[in-house]
Symmetry: C2
DNA sequence: CTAAATGTTGACATTAATTCTCAATTACCA
DNA sequence: TGGTAATTGAGAATTAATGTCAACATTTAG
């Protein structure tokens, strides 16, 4: 397990952030929903069920923070809201298939881009630290 | 020249849309700024200089319309606003290099993804109609 | 040529996601 | 345990984008 509390706690303390109950709760939501791409609103909805006192702003701040610490990966599927999933080395080897009809997001494993990245760096002098590849189309059910 | 007025006029009339002065003006802005990735706000700013009577809503509607007609390609660089460039077959063979420091967007030609697309379609049953590949990092000047 | 039909516009209100503000509270360290 | 800086919740503010609607323009039918 890479994303235990302890790992996150260390990442936080390294930068003088604190591990608050709210942060714990939000982190837990991601461990319990590993396959989903949750938006701030999604997280808020889940949090509210057990902790109605936690505010929207805290959700946003925490997600931002986790993205900064590379605990979560912030993503944009073009539906007008940011979505988050655990940040893993893995993130760099899977791409997203976004259905234009029903909106579901599937994943596809691949590491072809690594070679493309080095080619680009050599050719253009641009130093790549991250990438995002999205395919739009129609899933099995909708085509 | 693929993007002359005549081509756009035809695309418009095919779907019972009209070529209005406002649409002409907005189109012209793109022919005069071919290298840029303009946002609605950008376009509005440029339009205002010569035609202050044109409203924001018209800009948005026109950009949407042009995107629908595949005159322009709507893009999202994650900076919170949509950006537009001419739609060309080319769009599918170039990717964007987005500098995390200065924000400039460079382009990189490539058609590696075509093969990847067919592989994905075969494997997953997902029918791909479009893709977007973005690389984040640091440009020559900022690295 | 004229009138109805239909597309388009500008001004303004509205929405939706996100960020800001600030006083009150809390987690951590000495 | 107490001090201090980080954090929180509530609500206001911001920002991109969309919706509304009456006035306007252009095409089409007669």
């Amino acid at each position: 397990m890479e994303h235990t509390l302890d790992v996150v706690r260390r990442k936080l303390y390294d930068k003088d952030y604190k591990l608050t109950p709210q942060r714990k709760i939000i982190l837990e939501i991601f461990t319990k929903n590993p396959e989903k791409h949750l938006s701030a609103e999604d997280v808020y909805g889940i949090v509210k069920q057990t902790h109605p006192e936690i505010g929207m702003a805290t959700i946003y701040r925490t997600l931002d923070l986790f993205a900064e610490l590379k605990v979560l990966q912030k993503m944009d599927f073009g539906d007008g809201r940011a979505r988050y999933e655990f940040y893993e080395a893995d993130v760099h080897h899977h791409h997203h298939l976004i259905c234009k009809k029903c909106g579901t997001v599937a994943e596809f494993e691949d590491d072809l881009l690594e070679t493309l990245e080095t080619a680009i760096e050599k050719k253009s002098g641009f130093q790549i630290v991250d990438h995002q590849l999205k395919f739009y189309g129609y899933c099995k059910k909708c085509r």
